[in-house]
Assembly symmetry: D4
Homo-oligomer: 254 residues x 8
Amino acid sequence: MDMTLDEITISRAIVTDHLNTLIEYMEMDVAVIGAGPSGLVCAALIAEKGLKVGLIEKKLSIGGGMWGGGMMFPRIVVQQEAKRLLDRFGIRSSEFAPGYYTARSVEAVTKLAAAASDAGVEFFNLTTVEDVMIKGDGTLSGLVINWQPVEATGLHVDPLTIGCKMTVDATGHDAVIARQVSKKCGKPDIKGEGTMWADNAESAVVAHTKEIFPGLFVCGMAANAVFGGHRMGPVFGGMLLSGEAAAEQILKRF
Amino acid sequence: MDMTLDEITISRAIVTDHLNTLIEYMEMDVAVIGAGPSGLVCAALIAEKGLKVGLIEKKLSIGGGMWGGGMMFPRIVVQQEAKRLLDRFGIRSSEFAPGYYTARSVEAVTKLAAAASDAGVEFFNLTTVEDVMIKGDGTLSGLVINWQPVEATGLHVDPLTIGCKMTVDATGHDAVIARQVSKKCGKPDIKGEGTMWADNAESAVVAHTKEIFPGLFVCGMAANAVFGGHRMGPVFGGMLLSGEAAAEQILKRF
Amino acid sequence: MDMTLDEITISRAIVTDHLNTLIEYMEMDVAVIGAGPSGLVCAALIAEKGLKVGLIEKKLSIGGGMWGGGMMFPRIVVQQEAKRLLDRFGIRSSEFAPGYYTARSVEAVTKLAAAASDAGVEFFNLTTVEDVMIKGDGTLSGLVINWQPVEATGLHVDPLTIGCKMTVDATGHDAVIARQVSKKCGKPDIKGEGTMWADNAESAVVAHTKEIFPGLFVCGMAANAVFGGHRMGPVFGGMLLSGEAAAEQILKRF
Amino acid sequence: MDMTLDEITISRAIVTDHLNTLIEYMEMDVAVIGAGPSGLVCAALIAEKGLKVGLIEKKLSIGGGMWGGGMMFPRIVVQQEAKRLLDRFGIRSSEFAPGYYTARSVEAVTKLAAAASDAGVEFFNLTTVEDVMIKGDGTLSGLVINWQPVEATGLHVDPLTIGCKMTVDATGHDAVIARQVSKKCGKPDIKGEGTMWADNAESAVVAHTKEIFPGLFVCGMAANAVFGGHRMGPVFGGMLLSGEAAAEQILKRF
Amino acid sequence: MDMTLDEITISRAIVTDHLNTLIEYMEMDVAVIGAGPSGLVCAALIAEKGLKVGLIEKKLSIGGGMWGGGMMFPRIVVQQEAKRLLDRFGIRSSEFAPGYYTARSVEAVTKLAAAASDAGVEFFNLTTVEDVMIKGDGTLSGLVINWQPVEATGLHVDPLTIGCKMTVDATGHDAVIARQVSKKCGKPDIKGEGTMWADNAESAVVAHTKEIFPGLFVCGMAANAVFGGHRMGPVFGGMLLSGEAAAEQILKRF
Amino acid sequence: MDMTLDEITISRAIVTDHLNTLIEYMEMDVAVIGAGPSGLVCAALIAEKGLKVGLIEKKLSIGGGMWGGGMMFPRIVVQQEAKRLLDRFGIRSSEFAPGYYTARSVEAVTKLAAAASDAGVEFFNLTTVEDVMIKGDGTLSGLVINWQPVEATGLHVDPLTIGCKMTVDATGHDAVIARQVSKKCGKPDIKGEGTMWADNAESAVVAHTKEIFPGLFVCGMAANAVFGGHRMGPVFGGMLLSGEAAAEQILKRF
Amino acid sequence: MDMTLDEITISRAIVTDHLNTLIEYMEMDVAVIGAGPSGLVCAALIAEKGLKVGLIEKKLSIGGGMWGGGMMFPRIVVQQEAKRLLDRFGIRSSEFAPGYYTARSVEAVTKLAAAASDAGVEFFNLTTVEDVMIKGDGTLSGLVINWQPVEATGLHVDPLTIGCKMTVDATGHDAVIARQVSKKCGKPDIKGEGTMWADNAESAVVAHTKEIFPGLFVCGMAANAVFGGHRMGPVFGGMLLSGEAAAEQILKRF
Amino acid sequence: MDMTLDEITISRAIVTDHLNTLIEYMEMDVAVIGAGPSGLVCAALIAEKGLKVGLIEKKLSIGGGMWGGGMMFPRIVVQQEAKRLLDRFGIRSSEFAPGYYTARSVEAVTKLAAAASDAGVEFFNLTTVEDVMIKGDGTLSGLVINWQPVEATGLHVDPLTIGCKMTVDATGHDAVIARQVSKKCGKPDIKGEGTMWADNAESAVVAHTKEIFPGLFVCGMAANAVFGGHRMGPVFGGMLLSGEAAAEQILKRF
């Protein structure tokens, strides 16, 4: 192997390529916050229709709570109703009991993210959402972002603002965006997550997937957290279906 | 959506499915340690030939240092020589300057991991390798593993041992396995990584990919760390080619 | 000593033996949470009647606050009324003053745990209870568990659910399960522990040992914490008697 | 239950009872440091012959690394040769494969400790050994102890000295006492633990159990750490046999 | 210098001497909590009348906030009214401006403590008060104490109870005992400290020195914290006078 | 009590008074570093002869390791030879066994410090010695000091230099000044503390009290640490005698 | 270069020069707390009229949140209305879009601070304001200050008080002084910062710049935090104009 | 004030402006690492001659150890020889003693940085230098940089490389670049800083300012650290003169 590499060209390639993307995505159609399973599905299904979608994740890696399966045993379960979404994303599964399919957690998360990439989603990892932008019309129209390591080290560094026509809170149990809006604007009311009750939770998460503030949707566990739904543990059908439902509702707006 | 989910069945599905895998993989053909780009390529290329391959990663997520691109700008560069591997794994890239291709870091890492899954690699994440097993014939024939959270919390909990015919140290700069063997057996000599010199480093990493102790191969930055090679920064061609080279050498042994 | 040990067989023995137990105990008769003195007595007395009892403890070791005696002087005191329970479990004691018996704390805790083992109790240590399962009938019918090191390291890993017909909260001052149920279901009311008043506390802890929510009993200091009873310090008669009382009440349900 | 408890009497009972023991044990026959399986067996077998034995443990709980089984699966394995010691201490086991017996880790550790208590061993938990006393005759004749929480909080508090005719270092991998003596007196040489090789390790641990400095014996993993023996993981036969061997050698001195 | 010292005798001397004191002081006349200037003065003045007084301090050293003077300049100021107390305890001072005397902070604190020792006060340092004992008559009649390092390391170790006829909360701004009583018994009301206003604060602290709950007095900054008095900074006359006032009130009860 | 206090006058009094002292003590006769028992005795005995002595202590409080007695039992032991020094400083003691006197640790430390104050010693607490000044004549002639909280918070703040004709390292086991000089100047050789051997250590500490570098003396445990002497635990006669010996040697130089 | 430097003279120069300043500034005209852009402008404009102004900053360095630009890209934006203030302080800028000027953050902050120095402002860095002084007339007339490293290390050291005729809270989002006054005096009401809305926020911050309690003004983000104004991110025109407005209002009082 | 601000334009202005600078400075003439006084002077004097100079600083703020003066008293001393540099940069000073000038530390650091800005220096703060680039000709020709918060949080993120014709290590006591080169290339030899000796140190720092490796110069305390020079404390003349000397040597190369 005979190479003549110029380190400066490599640096310029990375900086130029990403910062052009960043500048381009300062006005996007849909910002999805939280790259767990419901956020990935939601972002992928919207982007494949041609909309400009950014997926904002505070961690270095994508995937949220899906990597660890249940209690560090890296397997997930998906029920019959959502089996078609596993198939759609090429995630192999096997039937453990009638209606219960197990899949490998690493395969599931990486294939969802790969599909989102192919659909045209841009990922902004290591990025936190500090606050939201709500101007005179009372609609959430932008996000106030910062680097996660800045937040983690407690540095006093100002954020930047990016604009988005629609926002999806897919931040899981914490429902970070919904809570921030609730605290500053007095609504929506956040009920908090209930006890474990898987089938109830799985049904509810799809029903709770909706617009909760002008311009702001919730999906995945954030939806159950906002409306007081139950927990479901390592069964992921509802997550996938909720991401799909959010995508469908948002696509109708464009 | 009308579901009747049994939480206990979900729990049993996950535990049973992973337990069977864990017991099955207590004797594997090849154990790759470290799920960064070179480890993923190496594992994928061996597994697709039908060997039993386990990929052991201490973090919750797969991907190592690839997620963050360069300085948190999530882009990587791959040079001409390795462009064919990007294509092989379906990772989209664009030419920034002649011979320099940029790709999205999130897409790159998730597609490599998805490909490894499809090839049949089993992932054991949140797992650390505390030590190695070397019995009377002086060959590395097993790994002493533990849960990473056990190590992180300093709990006094014994590890377990798993057997493997060949082992690949793909743990990056730290060359964890090579150092552990070196410390306890007096060899191989570990030279440590040199300064930045990208083209030299990229060439060397493939040349340094080899068996360094009976039963133990190194690839990726671990190879340069063992032999005193240079650093290369966020250019990843050598990583991919080194993973490929390790796979080819190991396949010849079976 | 001439041995030929196979490390892989050792690993398989441990994993197989425990995971079969774990799968078996995903449906148990009684789950006792907290392996302090009252939990140990309660679990032992129920299990010796043939019920399937699991004892869940978040720490690596069993015994709770009993190891340290009073202010690190490893001695406990038991009053006349509970002396028969010391005797029953073979814990040696000596009379310090009329009606006051001292025993060695290490002996006390290890003999209670050994007796629970002999009675058939299965121990699940390093296990936290994150939440409870309450389905349509409003009865606590399961526990949402996770590894304690996962919780301690703040990893985002989903829990698993196990089923139990009856649950005993023996988690001490914190009354963890009672508080979790209270927070999510609005009842029972948790009054919190009162000031030190040993004889009052000792009497009250037995009186407060009862079912406080469908399917959930409290015993030991958790009972006093729920009902606002007083503290008693390093006198353990009430703890033992409360564990016995909980066992008796639960056995009547089967 | 009608009790009239006097909190002050309880306090006095605990303080008086323990401090009398502490003063009595400031001159003991044998001090065993480290309450893991080999230390417990060693202490129990010496004490049952009527010698005054103190078991010093830095943690709050007794048992060392035995509680967690292998990788938090609370099971241990004992091989054929040591099965008789499981039986002797009443620890139930079942044969997994010919010559391999599994036992519950919680049962094992609590029954060993209970047996040591019954044999007359006094436990000093939460106690660290900061240093040793070696006077003009060059024999280790005392231990410099302190409270473990004092050490953990970095407080500047002086230790106390206790006298012992023989000392056993059963502190596991770290071989704390042996290393302290080695550092200050220039001997014995500490070789450090080798790689995993279970049957070799199990044989060696008994062979390495011996007096390594006037007045100082090693047993358990400390023996292998001193002499460069191998690791054995969660198989505990050698630990039990090493504790027995140390007891036998020490008993011959009295 | 020719000495033949026996380390064991030294250990026995320390343990025996303190143990006897500890057991003797499990029933004392007055317990003062917090060894800052007001607590030291209060304890000294009571003890010199022959009452049995224990001074309980959570830190290793005695003196509270007096060591550091103002902003680490080790000087304190005392006003004319309290100059006689400086003189009484032999603390040298010089007049900076009419009515304002400066003294060295190290001299002040050590002479107050030396005087308390001479008066017969027993010091219990590194000791925290976790709770109080209030039995049927509603009077604070005892303290629930523990080692401070136990609390600092979060160890689960039970406390002991000591009895006292009168208690003085001299714990400064935090008013630890008053707050604990207030939280558990619903009274007294704790108003919290006001802004800086030195002369007002100095007058008020003496006026606020009183019995606030049956058996419980406050003095020093704890008095101002309970009654919402102002802060005074590094002027210490009020502290000394408040300690004197508390002593006088308590002596009238005996 | 009727006061009119001016907060600004209080502030000015403290700053002015200490500032004048600080500027005055920028050239002192003797700097003693470390305010444990040997440093306090040494400083007191030199200052009472009229020399200008500063006592520099990194902690907020004075007293070093003497407060905690042995294992938090606040008692110390002093042997016959040093009993006269207890008496000299007015520290009450009682004979436990022939030649062994016990004293209260709080009384001992506060009376030593009070005596040092009376002798004219100035205390500089919360002050660390970062380095030393050694100019062309090769004599230690100054100290490079900083605030301890600056060091503790890792702030990048420059130190100041103060001058002293003689310096005493009384920093205990760490022998901070001796080690710093040794590291930068290649001498003296630091042997490190030996094992426990009280009578040998007590004799040696006085013999080791001497000038170890031009301008630098050691006393107390620092003397034994430099010369490889033994440990002595909570017997303090040697400490007091060593401080006295250092004072005598230094006084001969003036 | 031939120098003969006396380290002691250097130390004396620094201590004397600063402490004289400190004593002089114990009574100042205006204290500005927080050395971010609005505080710097406010202090500079007041001082250049000849008033005695102290700028108190808790960090070691001056400049607050201005150094980091937006998301660590060290650039700030200033709009047309405030361009004249950039020019006034000699800060170079370039027009990015009509009405939007970018400047280098490091240049901006250092030139503002240099200008404040030239105007005669005295800086007190590493200084925290723990509390305020409010005497009988209900006016804020002083500040209770301490060293920031004292606070950061949790040391128990008393503060000092300094007097000021007017105080400006320029502490940013936290509005530290306003909150402290509000908590202790029941007013003013603190509304907290709103969501991002830059032009609204920029206008409001000037309108909210006013006296909010006798003797206390707010400017910069503290003004918006008190009155519930919006956030503005890395656009700094409002900050500069608010500092100017506060200066103008205060100058009218003198 | 009537503004219509577009948050997105603000974000774009900041990112675009900095991005262009970053890409432009990926090839610079001189990189100065460390923005303390010597680095600031060096960078300013080179840039004012028209060379492209980048100043890389790991902290958020510029100024290094100059902000805190001596022991937090914010004053510095400059001797006669360097007085002209204070004057050149407009830093006001006053003569304390013949040849000793005091200046305010905040004024000094901000005026040096403002002057560097005016001279055309670009600042890259929050940026660490992880490594260096040395290619086939053995000359240091580039720096491997990363965000400081990435390093502080231990994130696994690759660095970028920037090119520079000359590099100045002005990183103070740590001499970070010199040590890194020394470790990887075997030279230069790093002697480490000596004891305090101000005039010797001040003369030496200028003499030690030189090229120590092809392409790498040292100035300021890094120069004394490399060559074993003495410390000088808060006297800054040598720092300024060393920065000037480095600038002069480097300018001769262009």
